[in-house]
């Protein structure tokens, strides 16, 4: 009973051989295309929430409360800030008080990307892919000075100067690594930003 496997080479995404070469080209392509970093939208800091019709504001308020109260971060743990993020998640600083109960491994179930650690060019395509695969609406917290500007390793040949070269960042949390209290303050800033979000720009 020899079962002939269905010929699905059409579906196959990558030939086995040359995987490293393809990965190398992807890194070089991303490295050359990463010219101007994404601008930081900061007008939400000064904006007044709650204009617009009665119905719209209640839907806004309810929606932003639902989104704000259960932000699930995705696993993106390159370096030392990862460990400060884990202690912030652990029992003493307990980020689950803010609804961030579990750290999701796959971007499908996550809506917040906390970039905990230094980003190198070899890891950049992977982080960009994780960000692209996250469902809308999604937010990004750049944690630590490596996430903001490459930090202490900025002059290195293999470090991306800040995550905003890859995708727009909402909140920056300075520190190397930032203490858990600073990270939780950053998350509260993000809650403020979400609560000011309106349906118009989705």
């Amino acid at each position: 009973m020899e079962i002939e496997p269905v010929d699905v080479s059409k579906v196959c995404i990558f030939p086995d051989q040359g995987v490293d070469r393809i990965e190398g080209e992807a890194i070089e392509a991303l490295k050359s295309s990463c010219g101007v970093p994404y601008p930081d939208k900061t007008e939400w800091l000064t904006e007044q929430a709650g204009k617009g019709s009665l119905l719209l504001t209640t839907v806004d308020a309810m929606l932003s409360w639902a989104r704000r109260a259960s932000l699930w971060p995705v696993i993106c743990f390159p370096a030392c800030c990862a460990f400060e993020f884990v202690t912030a998640e652990a029992s003493r600083f307990d980020m689950s008080r803010f609804g961030m109960e579990i750290v999701r491994a796959s971007p499908r179930q996550a809506d917040l990307l906390i970039t905990a650690g230094t980003l190198t060019w070899k890891m950049a395509p992977q982080v960009k892919r994780i960000y692209d695969q996250m469902a809308e609406p999604k937010w990004v917290i750049a944690m630590g000075s490596c996430g903001i500007s490459g930090g202490i390793f900025q002059s290195s040949y293999n470090v991306v100067p800040g995550y905003r070269c890859l995708f727009p960042v909402d909140v920056y949390v300075p520190g190397c690594p930032p203490r858990p209290e600073a990270l939780i303050y950053g998350i509260q800033m993000l809650h403020k930003k979400i609560s000011k979000g309106t349906l118009k720009q989705g």
């Binding site: 079962i3 496997p5 269905v6 699905v8 080479s9 579906v11 196959c12 995404i13 990558f14 030939p15 086995d16 995987v19 393809i22 839907v59 929606l63 796959s106 971007p107 499908r108 992977q126 982080v127 892919r129 994780i130 692209d132 695969q133 469902a135 809308e136 609406p137 349906l199 989705g202």
Partner: protein, 123 residues
Amino acid sequence: MLLNYGYIALFLIIALGFTLTTLLLPVLLKRFKIVPDKPSQVKGEPFECGMRTIGKTWIQFNFRYYFYALVFLALDVMVVFIYPWAVGLRGIGITGFVIMIIFILLITVGYIYAWKKKALEWK
């Protein structure tokens, strides 16, 4: 008597209501533009720890997983019948008991057959 059927109908309505809302909710929210909808090619691809999948992903798995599933299914169906029988055993007395024993023996005959045919061997 009719009241018992009323409960079943109520249960049916709740079940249908729940499944329909969970199915239709995303479609409605997307139509009224409450939830942003930005599909993209990368979102469609499988997530494998941030990397692209390597090589063929539609492949022929080993057959022994399927044998295990079959034997489990047979025993699981038997268990499904045993539960209500065990609850109502006092009512149906010794005859019910004998009938169930025969049913259990039938299933164990099939189980022993699979065992002898080495379906459970983990190569």
